[in-house]
């Protein structure tokens, strides 16, 4: 290693590699362990919610966490401000009107 490198290399490249890999592989594992129905579930939920509220694909997120024997399905929907007023003038969809 030359004198120049001592000033330049604050971190060893192997250290950088390990850090990058650890993050990447954790993310890969989460992706892999996701049940295959999750994306479809997300799409269908989005379609249902859209009937009532104006939301985008980005406003809905589904995550599945595992804590020992317990699986937690977390559904997060961000409603836009004034969403209720916006839709009030529109007639409710068929099924929503039923008692």
């Amino acid at each position: 290693m030359g004198l120049f490198d001592y000033f330049n290399a604050n971190r060893k490249s192997a250290e950088v590699a390990k850090e990058r890999l650890s993050i990447l592989i954790t993310r890969d594992k989460i992706q892999r362990d996701r049940p295959s129905f999750l994306p479809q579930l997300q799409d269908e939920l989005l379609a249902v919610i859209k009937k009532y509220v104006d939301i985008n694909q980005d406003d809905i997120s589904i995550t599945l966490d595992r804590e020992q024997d317990c699986e937690i399905l977390e559904l997060n929907i961000t409603l836009p401000e004034k969403s209720c007023q916006q839709r009030e003038d529109k007639p409710l969809p068929e099924r929503a009107r039923e008692p």
Partner: protein, 272 residues
């Protein structure tokens, strides 16, 4: 044989040493007195025959046997140097889909009748050929280079081994996994330029079978068509011998994982 073991040599990434390992491992098992067949699953890109030095003796191949164009013992090539060692070459021309699930199972079952170990040399990637090579396996040797893309691909393969093999489908104990690090350079690790054995083991978290050092002996061996394990004096040859012994249950300390001691002369004047 009722207790034949099927071992898949796999990696995901190409060029990390699967075929070198398959040849060395199979020869090592045979040298220990176990009747061993090594099967090339890389249809279309067969190379195991070259590494084993029997490329001119290939008449029939794996696909011929599956298609019943030849009998198994017509396609099996006996290794001339080692007793107990046979090679089943891959087909060079046929399309990859010719390895059907039923066909592969039939051939493996027939091999099981005579062999103690069946070593399956997987193609790179996660396509059909790699899937066929791992599907029937009892144990897996995951060959990994100390390089990020290789480690990532190995992790991917481990995911498949844990979910897409016959043992899992049949609810038996899952495929036993072994990590084999190849092209390892302790000197570069000590300089912080290469992922260490410990780093990679932490990331993949599977038991370590062995470490093969970066070695000139590997290319020399492949040039000559002799599995590197036959070169008993080379570092890579010795490292593979250790791996086979460990695989067979011996407790052997890891070698070639620490940098070579430098003389005072080279410390002063640099160089490797």
């Amino acid at each position: 044989m009722t207790n034949t073991k099927i071992i898949v040599i796999t990696s995901g990434k190409g060029g990390v040493g699967k075929t070198t390992t398959s040849a060395a491992f199979a020869m090592g098992l045979a040298l220990e007195g176990h009747k061993t067949a090594v099967v090339d699953f890389d249809v279309g890109l067969r190379n195991l025959d070259l590494i084993m030095g029997c490329e001119r003796r290939v008449v029939y191949d794996f696909v011929n046997v599956i298609n019943k164009e030849a009998r198994l013992n017509q396609a099996l090539i006996r290794d001339k140097r080692t007793e107990n060692l046979y090679i089943l070459p891959a087909s060079q021309t046929k399309d990859k889909e010719s390895l059907t699930m039923e066909g592969v199972e039939t051939v493996l079952n027939e091999l099981k009748e005579t062999f103690d170990y069946i070593v399956c040399d997987s193609p790179a990637g996660i396509e059909h050929g790699a899937f066929m090579a791992m599907y029937f396996a009892d144990e897996a040797v995951v060959v990994t280079n100390p390089e990020i893309s290789s480690v990532r691909d190995s992790d991917r393969i481990l995911g498949l081994l844990a979910s897409k093999t016959k043992r899992v489908v049949e609810n038996r104990t899952p495929v036993k996994e072994h990590l084999l690090l190849t092209r390892y350079s302790p000197e570069r690790v000590s300089r912080g330029e290469m992922l260490s054995v410990k780093d990679i083991q932490e990331i993949l978290s599977i038991p370590l079978l062995g470490v093969i050092p970066e070695s000139e002996a590997v290319l020399t061996a492949s040039n000559q068509g002799v599995p590197v394990i036959a070169n008993r004096n080379s570092d890579a040859g010795m490292a593979y011998q250790d791996c086979v012994a460990r695989f067979l249950g011996e407790d052997i300390e890891m070698r070639f994982i620490d940098p070579k001691k430098k003389s005072i002369f080279s410390k002063f004047f640099g160089g490797n």
